[in-house]
Symmetry: C2
Subunit: 337 residues, 2 copies
DNA sequence: TAATTGCGCACAATCGTTTGAGCAATACTT
DNA sequence: AAGTATTGCTCAAACGATTGTGCGCAATTA
């Protein structure tokens, strides 16, 4: 009953027309020379009737929903959950709401979500893409601004904010080398994904010319993958490897678990280093040395970028040029290697 | 350009009226005796023009958005992230989208989010409430179905699905007793919250008549709280306690950290048991014995409940009666006590 | 006094759908 | 052959807002 009041109710209640009411309520009063008397009466009445604008009607008319579509490949993954949390907050601060969808690493679900975003008339899209091609997103971005985060495509002019996975992996690998490890096993995540490729490249480049042996196995950002690859590599009689580079925190967990099963002491018998931030890595024993990504900074940059594009388009300006950012990660040293 | 086609485009393209097009596209064709010829032509044209209905316009007209508002107190908390992930998936399976908001444990932000949900005409709301009173939500639920999850209010007829925190805490405490612990420290979360109160009640009831000493300290579901209370209780020369019951996984982490600082061996010198599910509790050393909440089951029940109410209201039926569910948690035994 | 200007507001179209009511043509009845 | 049913569709009014245009009136100017 409270929310039954609309612009028309207020109009008849105050005796003014709906247009006047609308202009007052949208803050266009002085632009249209509405009298102070009218402004006061209308605002007061709106408050009294507990008027809440119908955002759906507003959107239909104005083509602006003050909503951003956020698409991640798995909200149950702490990494994306943290990311989503930060972004939702940042958008909220700017008066925008978030329509969250989960592609579950599947292209079909990604496409569905994008359709939905467009149908819902979101003002912009922030996404961690899962599809292998940028084509669809590039097409969409002509209509609705799109900013990629965490993952990007090799040749695309879509704006993105990613951490520099190449540098991160290089840092991690060099750290292992400096500490005397000579036989390194890398466990990868989804191979087709850009972060994984970059990490692999960084890993290999760091090893170039070094007197070490190495191998890069695995194919998923999952606990199981970490577990299975460790069992495979360390399960037999002894192992060729003295250190492990886990390409994600989930992989790391699986590895830790496998080492425990195999009764191999992490930090002593084998060194281990991981990618990803994740507060609880500090609570493992030993605490895990890792490459952390500046999630907050990345999120802020992504949101900023998105809004600058939105603003530019709204004002018919050409879009800013530098829209692809690679930000450097940080090495957090603990005691696992 | 692709998405510029609307129902009117299709109408003029096919020569039929917009009403006919609409009825075909919404599957009401035979109900209105549209000819097969018309159906075929219209569907074919829609496909050819890549028609996507404007969900905003649809919502305005039908008052149904096929969207559910999901409100959690902190999406960056793994517990709620997991919950959100499950719920988003379940809703997606039923053809519904999710508008996600984060109240950050603040009443003001909760209220804002609820306003937004109503303005957006969500068809239903699933929320982990943070406010101390049920009043506002009860008011809203007359307009839009509301289901509480994880937390509820003591006397309310709002439907909810929570785990039985009383039983869970009792189970945990009894487990400690059975294993010979005699001096138990409980570290609480937010005292005003229903889950905390229930856990405390379960804890105390389990100890009734037993020959043990105990204390319940702390006041936040945070790592710091866990840390500080352990330091306070175990920091001096020896401690009165031989076991700790952490009321949440965050508290547990703080405790683990503090024990490490104090050089006290968990599992040997002190037993510890925790609340909350959290996959990584298995990766700590020792793995933590804990009370897990059946998140999936709870989510399914909550979604089911919400839809049954929505359906009942749509059909003008009276709403189902039994809508408040307390589901039993599970004791997951590991090696920390 | 008549023409001009500015002020304060109202009219009505519009956004893209859905939907109750109605209407012309054909088919069926008796 | 005239009346009734059925078929297959169209008309136009909503939903709740925004917004370009225009109009009556008073104050100012000529």
């Amino acid at each position: 009953m409270a929310s039954k009041s609309n612009i028309f109710t207020i109009a008849s209640e105050t005796g003014y027309s709906v247009s006047t009411v609308s202009r007052v309520l949208t803050g266009q009063a002085e632009k249209f020379r509405i009298s102070k008397k009218a402004i006061d009466l209308i605002s007061e009445t709106a408050r009294r009737l507990n008027y809440q604008p119908d955002l759906v009607a507003q959107t239909l008319r104005t083509k602006q929903s003050r909503t951003i579509g956020l698409l991640v490949p798995g909200i149950d993954n702490p990494f994306f959950a943290t990311l989503a949390g930060i972004i939702i907050k940042l958008l909220g601060d700017r008066g925008y709401h978030t329509l969250l969808a989960d592609s579950r690493e599947a292209e079909a679900e990604e496409e569905q979500a994008l359709q939905m975003f467009l149908g819902r008339k979101v003002d912009g899209i922030i996404t961690v893409p899962v599809s292998s091609s940028a084509a669809r997103l590039e097409q969409i971005s002509q209509q609705t601004p799109v900013v990629l985060i965490d993952r990007h495509f090799s040749k695309t002019n879509l704006p993105y904010v990613c951490t520099d996975n190449y540098v991160g992996a290089r840092m991690a690998t060099e750290y292992l080398l400096q500490h005397g490890y000579k036989r390194i096993l890398a466990i990868q995540g989804v191979r087709s994904s850009m972060p994984n490729q970059e990490r692999l490249r960084g890993f290999k480049d760091a090893l170039k010319g070094e007197d070490v042996i190495y191998e890069a196995v695995g194919d998923a950002f999952s606990v199981e993958n970490g577990h299975d690859e460790i069992v495979r590599a360390f399960g037999g009689n002894g192992s060729r490897f003295d250190a492990v580079f886990a390409f994600s925190a989930t992989i790391l967990l699986g590895a830790i678990d496998a080492f425990r099963e195999l009764n191999i002491k992490v930090g002593e018998e084998v060194g281990i280093i991981s990618y990803d931030n994740n507060g609880f890595l500090d609570f493992l024993d030993p605490a895990i040395t890792r490459v952390e990504q500046p999630l907050r900074e990345a999120s802020e940059l992504a949101v900023e970028t998105l809004f600058s594009i939105m603003e530019a388009r709204r004002e018919g300006r050409s879009e800013p040029e530098v829209l692809q950012r690679l930000i450097p990660p940080t090495l957090v040293v603990r005691s696992s290697c």
